[in-house]
């Protein structure tokens, strides 16, 4: 099938995000949870407008694509996510950009995923496995 003209294609935004969770998760899990959280929070109609797709996810960070008019809704849906595979998790949006390349360069390259234990040489009172 003939590809749509560039001027006719839907405009998109790319949200770079990091995953902060009890246990590491895969891309498939994130897709499932984000869509389910979006459809629960926004309803199926608005979620379809958002056009949410998880483009890539590795090493705790990734990029989510959404419609350029629905960035707010997408962010809210990502924030409403509380668990992945029954384990507690949150997605932290690092920033939004108009192209995948720019989003990667600006937010993901040289970005180390947040790990509280590394930042602070902490006492041993902490329950193991609480924060990854």
């Amino acid at each position: 099938m003939k590809r749509l003209l560039p001027s006719l294609r839907a405009k998109k935004r790319y949200l770079a995000f990091e995953l902060i969770s009890e246990e590491p998760a895969g891309r498939g899990d994130i897709v499932k949870e984000v869509i389910s959280s979006a459809s629960s929070l926004l309803g199926d109609v608005t979620t379809s407008d958002c056009d949410i797709k998880v483009l890539g996810f590795e090493a705790g960070k990734g990029i989510i694509q959404c419609s350029h008019t629905r960035v707010k809704e997408t962010r809210a849906a990502m924030a409403a996510l509380t668990r992945i595979n029954g384990k507690r998790a949150t997605l932290h949006v690092l920033g939004a950009s108009g192209t995948v390349k720019r989003a990667t360069e600006k937010f993901l390259q040289d970005y180390t995923v947040f790990e509280p234990e590394v930042q602070e040489k902490k006492d041993s009172r902490q329950v193991p496995g609480k924060v990854n």
Binding site: I20, L41, R75, A76, A79, T82, R88, H92, P116
Partner: protein
């Protein structure tokens, strides 16, 4: 006008929540907050006075969330904790408690006002809140952790309170009410969620930055403070 500063005024650390104050502070700092208030419930206070983590460029406020069913005991608790706390929150949940909290100008925030079939506020209480400068807390944790019927109830209560707050000019505070670091959300996400839940952009921004700043300014008066409305100014402040 510079970049707004964001504050989260209701965060529960160990033993009230799961995470230590240290973890919450480092994550909140990573998310771009300028300060958080550690506000444990008054029935789950640690045995000794907690040592607040000191982090440069980040403020940790002393707070407390009072849980008390009896209004007169609540008033005495407020008197007991007021002077030592930067942020004093009352955990609402019945008409008597909501009323007692909103009619006491020494209270900063009323959280969870909803009970039974009511959103927790009415025109009388909203007027009292505006007069006494008590803010209504919008807590995100219940919204995040519920779905379906329960979340619908929470949202409709929130909208009812929002309408009253707009009409009577009651200030709102947006807070996470986090009990673990997985309940914290970054300021931008808090704003996005608040806007989805019915707040206007400027209302949400005010609820997460300006109103908390005002509360702190009120409870931590400057050096020349004499009493409400009277302040000794010196040097460049005079200009």
């Amino acid at each position: 006008m510079g970049k707004p500063k964001f504050y989260d005024f209701c965060v529960h650390a160990v033993p009230d929540g799961d995470s230590t104050a240290q973890e919450l502070v480092s994550l909140a700092r990573h998310f771009g907050y300028s300060g958080i208030a550690l506000a444990n419930h008054s029935d789950k206070l640690p045995d000794r006075k907690p040592v607040l983590p000191q982090v440069e460029g980040f403020e940790v406020f002393r707070g407390i969330e009072l849980v008390e069913e009896n209004p007169s005991k609540l008033h005495s608790l407020i008197g007991k904790f007021r002077s030592s706390m930067d942020v004093l929150i009352v955990h609402g949940g019945s008409e008597a408690v909501n009323r007692a909290a909103l009619e006491n100008p020494r209270v900063d925030i009323l959280n969870h006002p909803a009970f039974d079939r009511s959103s927790g506020l009415n025109q009388v209480l909203a007027k009292a809140a505006a007069e006494n400068g008590v803010a209504i807390g919008i807590t995100l944790r219940p919204l995040l952790h519920s779905r379906g019927t329960r979340r619908i109830r929470l949202l409709s209560d929130l909208k009812a309170n929002l309408d009253l707050a707009r009409k009577y000019d009651v200030s709102l505070v947006l807070c996470s009410d986090a009990v673990s670091c997985f309940d914290l959300r970054s300021p931008m996400e808090m704003l996005a969620l608040a806007e989805i839940c019915g707040l206007e952009e400027d209302e949400a921004l005010e609820a997460i930055s300006k109103v908390p700043e005002k509360i702190i300014a009120r409870n931590r008066p400057g050096p020349g403070y004499v009493r409400e409305g009277i302040e000794v100014l010196e040097g460049e402040d005079l200009v």
